[in-house]
Symmetry: C2
Subunit: 215 residues, 2 copies
């Protein structure tokens, strides 16, 4: 039985579509009334786990799922031992440093040393500011990071930016990108190594319909 970990939320619809193209129908996950976290495919040959974005690499790293779909931002933040197999092209967004539009900062290196930076992605932010050789105090928040600069708690934030609408509504502007993120197909390394065909067949069929960025 092949198990696939899929993230709730913005990536789910496209993830289900990619697996459908590979012959695994998880449309049951998309039904509005669905409360089930473990859903068999229509063919009965596979099942999907419906989990939080951050938990997809956990289920794949522990081998509870052989495959998973998750944003590159989560892979970068959590650094778990999963194999990146395909760039699926959807769910595009940028991990950006943003500040108050009214501040004078226009590049990350303009920020004062030891300033405060709020983020849900403190791992990514730490690596970025370390590479810049700029010591900052990171404040981990679970949500609504834009409140950091608004309340004066932090000079800057590091957050995912898709349309930029949330930043604009809160008087913030993105001044520098850490990286671009898209949905990725990931796999359990040992399951892939021991696979005698079926996993690779799914990966190959998804690769045919995947539309990586820039293609």
């Amino acid at each position: 039985m092949i198990t696939v970990a899929l993230a709730k939320g913005a990536l789910l619809k496209d993830s289900v579509a990619r697996f459908a193209a590979a012959g695994l129908d998880f449309a049951g996950l998309l039904e509005p009334g669905n409360r089930q976290l473990m859903v068999p495919s229509a063919c009965g040959q596979a099942r999907a786990l419906l989990v939080r974005n951050a938990d997809v690499p956990v289920y794949v790293a522990y081998g509870q799922a052989q495959l998973g779909v998750v944003g590159y931002d989560v892979i970068r933040e959590h650094q778990l031992p999963v194999a990146q197999l395909l760039d699926l092209g959807f769910g595009g967004c940028r991990m950006s440093v943003a500040v108050k539009a009214s501040s004078g900062y226009r590049r990350a290196s303009d920020l004062p040393a030891h300033c405060r930076v709020a983020s849900k992605f403190t791992g990514c932010a730490q690596a970025f500011f370390d590479a810049l050789d700029l010591p900052v105090e990171l404040i981990h928040l679970a949500g609504s990071v834009e409140l950091g600069p608004i309340t004066g708690m932090s000079e800057a934030i590091v957050d995912l930016v898709a349309t930029g609408r949330t930043l604009e509504e809160n008087g913030l502007i993105a001044i520098e990108d850490l990286f671009h993120s898209t949905a990725r197909l990931v796999g359990h390394p040992l399951a892939l190594r021991l696979d005698d065909g079926p996993l690779q067949a799914i990966v190959d069929r998804i690769a045919l319909v995947a539309t990586p960025r820039g293609s």
Copy 2:
């Protein structure tokens, strides 16, 4: 200007009611279409920040809010320097160890050494198993922790249990409680020390309407 940090979700309605009894009307937060994260009180003398549960102690610890309402579970997990002022009595739940009902485990000490335990509250879980002198491998999950035992990833979970319905639906049972949790009024220690009356007046008025557990 007094700023109050309130948690989105299950605690919000009761939190707003307690502050209303103390003369601060934040009913605007409860309007269904509200998208604002910072809402002034009806009297204009105070404002509320609407943030994630885990972020309430952050805003209070950094002094961006002088007061906040948050579950005791979050205070225990995040260990930030905030002053606990009142047990507000609502939002009651237990932090519990749960296992598959079909397993033979009936106490936490029945669990095998080096078993896996999944939790959103790995800090609380680590302290509990350390005190029990039982080494376990903790797996941090962001949500739907009940999938841990269902998929076979973990022998047990540590999670908040309110009605027990989620456990029951997933074939799990709670076997031991770490602690009981209720909503707490917390404050910024320095703001309380420097307060010349207004903060203490709010705390006193909320204390009159607070109904701590067991009273």
